[in-house]
């Protein structure tokens, strides 16, 4: 399965999402994460610590792609139209992470509009959802659902343990923290929805 993670706005948890979906898929079959982000955040992450799956840039990925069952592609923030077109047409599922705030949601809607011409299988993933009693996550979900935009049932909570994972260079499920399990479950549920 080829899964692409893309968003028009930076800082919405794109690399974190790509990395954790790859972690989930690796449990099922060999998975390759392509770090297509020119910041090379995922490659940095894997160089800092260790990740349970293979990470490569898009050039090395060409020869590696045939060896892996699942491929997760992390893309640059604000991909240009040609890149978006290649990716949107070429992947089995496009995951669009978005935070539940007005600016990110506007960028997401802009992307959704652009995707209409490509017949893409895409789904929105709400990320960095603030804890209760803040209702931003629920409100964003309701408005996206009302607009008829496909969205993951699972959402990713805003938890400090994700920062710790990035710092240690590991996926969140191996961080020793009482919130690690909760954080991991967010992505495991999203992964389940992908393979269903």
């Amino acid at each position: 399965m080829i899964i692409t993670v893309a968003a028009f706005k930076g800082g919405v948890g794109k690399s974190t999402t790509a990395l954790h979906l790859a972690t989930y898929l690796q449990n099922k079959a060999d998975t390759l994460l392509i770090d297509g982000d020119l910041n090379r955040s995922a490659l940095d992450w894997s160089n800092r610590g260790c990740l349970p799956f293979k990470v490569a840039d898009e050039k090395d990925g060409v020869s590696l792609a045939t060896l892996y069952e699942h491929i997760v592609i992390d893309t640059p923030a604000r991909p240009d139209t040609n890149e978006l077109k290649t990716i949107a047409k070429g992947c089995d599922l496009l995951v669009i992470p978005t935070t539940p705030d007005a600016i990110a949601l506007a960028a997401t809607l802009q992307m959704v509009n652009l995707l209409k011409q490509f017949k893409t299988n895409y789904r929105i993933l709400l990320t960095l959802i603030p804890p209760n009693p803040n209702k931003a996550g629920e409100e964003a979900r309701t408005s996206l659902e009302q607009a008829g935009i496909p969205i993951f049932k699972s959402g990713i909570r805003r938890l400090a343990v994700f920062q710790r994972a990035a710092l240690e260079g590991v996926p969140v499920n191996v961080v020793k923290d009482s919130y690690a399990k909760i954080a991991w479950r967010c992505y495991a549920e999203a992964g389940k929805e992908i393979l269903r």
Partner: protein, 92 residues
């Protein structure tokens, strides 16, 4: 480079797709020829109780003859039904 290739992800997607195509060809090749009884609508699964020793003997005999226990039991029941029919006819 190919003229059609417009983004740096083109080659990657092509490579990944070719892998998927290779995967898709396989299942058509080794489709089962014979349907198993468990999926054949002409058969029904039932439970019967046998003395342990008899079940063991049946199993051993079936393996040594390379036959299915289901087939042996079905054959015996058929014989029994036919025999029952014949003895009934004699009385009539």
């Amino acid at each position: 480079m190919n003229k059609k290739k417009t983004s740096r992800f083109d080659d990657l997607i092509d490579a990944a797709r070719s892998r998927q195509q290779r995967d898709k060809l396989q299942p058509t090749e080794d489709q089962p020829i014979s349907q198993s009884k468990s999926t054949d609508p002409a058969y029904i699964r039932t439970t019967i109780y046998l003395p342990k020793q008899l079940h063991r003997q049946l199993k051993a005999a079936a393996i040594s003859q390379e036959r299915q226990m289901s087939d042996i039991v079905a054959e015996l029941i058929e014989q029994w039904l036919v025999a029952g029919q014949q003895s009934k006819e004699k009385i009539d």
